[in-house]
């Protein structure tokens, strides 16, 4: 198997269906498992909550909650009970999905191929390297932005924002185009930033994996394998930072965009 094929193989989803009605099974299953994990762990934690001294795990979760709540307080001017749970969901879920990147790139595909008996079975276990996942979240946020913009500013206020912003009443056509681009760029930048970072990260892991795999033949493996381990470790540590940062950025931008939607003067 050649280098290009190896990489392409790893970056293809396991999917069923044709055209638009294709379902990326691996993306859906992994993200749902992680979502279920959040709910399951939360529910278990919920049964043993205590107002008194919080235990180790409760303490950890409380600090995450506190962190999210602080960010919401700082970046969100109004009061909306949906913002904090939304931000929390984004942060945890995106982080967990990103964390799938930390699992050795060949482990799950290899196991999957063993189980199915199909040595060419596709499997991509990082849901955020699938544009569908990131765009789904970004579009959901976008729907909320539009919904709250109209709810807070009213239909006329929302229309006015398109007509007179940013250049005043003499540039209405320009304003419409500008505002349209501004609004559309919000979900697009959210989706593409996360997708791009995770996709690139995965790609680097694949390239590092190639060092010890395809390149090394015979005695050369003695040299290449340690190099791969060192590089992998380095990128792993760096990428751990990246996945946290990306989850955080997605969360904060969501809060900020929704805050803008709630800002009547804007």
């Amino acid at each position: 198997m050649g280098t290009v094929e190896y990489i392409q193989h790893h970056l293809t989803n396991n999917s069923i269906g044709e055209g638009f009605w294709t379902l990326n099974i691996d993306t859906i299953v992994v993200s749902l498992i992680l979502g279920a994990l959040i709910v399951f762990v939360s529910a278990r934690l919920g049964r043993q909550l205590s107002t008194g001294e919080p235990g180790g795990f409760q303490n950890f979760v409380e600090s995450i909650l506190d962190f999210v709540a602080t960010n919401v307080r700082d970046a969100f001017p109004g009061h909306n009970p949906i913002i904090a749970p939304l931000a929390l969901t984004i942060f945890i879920w995106v982080w967990l999905m990103n964390f799938m990147d930390m699992i050795p790139v060949d482990l799950f595909p290899y196991l999957f191929q063993l189980i199915t008996g199909d040595s060419h079975a596709f499997l991509k276990i990082v849901p955020t390297t699938d544009l569908n996942t990131t765009l789904a979240m970004a579009l959901t946020v976008f729907v909320l932005i539009i919904f709250y913009s109209i709810k807070i500013k009213g239909v006329w206020g929302f229309t006015k924002m398109f007509l007179f912003h940013p250049f005043g009443k003499f540039f209405i056509p320009v304003n419409i185009v500008m505002t349209f681009i501004e609004e559309i760029s919000k979900p697009l930048s959210l989706a593409l930033r996360l997708f791009g970072n995770m996709f690139a990260g995965e790609l680097v892991f694949l390239l590092i994996a190639l060092i010890g795999g395809t390149l090394a033949v015979g005695a050369a493996a003695l040299f290449w394998a340690p190099l791969q381990i060192i590089l992998d470790l380095g990128w792993l540590i760096f990428h751990l930072l990246v996945i946290t940062l990306q989850a955080f950025i997605f969360m904060v931008l969501t809060i900020v965009y929704l805050g803008m939607a709630h800002d009547e003067s804007h």
Binding site: L11, N13, S15, G17, G19, F20, W21, T22, L23, N24, T27, I28, S31, L32, G35, I38, V39, S42, A43, L45, G46, L49, T51, V61, E62, L65, D66, A69, I82, A84, P85, L86, L88, T89, I92, W93, P127, D130, L131, N132, T133, L135, A136, M137, L139, T140
Partner: protein, 156 residues
């Protein structure tokens, strides 16, 4: 890589997850944290209140102690006064008693003196009569010389 129906599934999954996270994680835990914060605030204010009350109680105790001291002083003073009064009273009574005893003793003495004088007088008159009888050599008629005798007795 292309956009497909997975997008719709992921959107639904995302919304569902937001709802679930709110239900099982955010709502209970943030309520709990708020409760705890309230509890801590309550505890702090209760402690503050307790401290204040302690101060008040201390002040009160001091006041009561001071009151008690003054009262004790008063009682002590009164008792002293009463004691000296009693002593004074006793003194007065004793003096009166002494006076009375002295008076009665004097009266008795006077009585005794007058009785003795009376006796003496009778004796003197009889002696005088018997003396005069001897001198005159005859019986003196007491009744005839009564006037003279009377003046004699009176002069004693």
């Amino acid at each position: 890589m292309s956009i497909n129906a997975t997008l719709l599934i992921q959107m639904i999954a995302f919304m569902l997850l937001i709802w679930l996270v709110n239900k099982v994680l955010w709502a209970p835990l943030s309520k709990l944290m708020e409760d705890r914060q309230k509890k801590i605030a309550d505890g702090l204010s209760a402690a503050e209140k307790g401290k204040h009350e302690l101060e008040l109680a201390e002040q009160k105790a001091k006041d009561v102690l001071k009151d008690a001291k003054t009262q004790a002083q008063n009682i002590l003073g009164q008792a002293e006064k009463r004691g000296s009064e009693i002593v004074e009273d006793a003194k007065v009574k004793a003096t009166e008693e002494a006076g009375r005893i002295k008076a009665s003793a004097q009266a008795e003495i006077e009585q005794e003196v007058s009785r003795a004088r009376e006796g003496l007088r009778k004796e003197v008159s009889s002696i005088a009569i018997s003396g005069a009888e001897k001198i005159l050599g005859k019986e003196v008629d007491a009744a005839a010389h009564n006037d003279m005798l009377e003046t004699l007795i009176k002069s004693i």
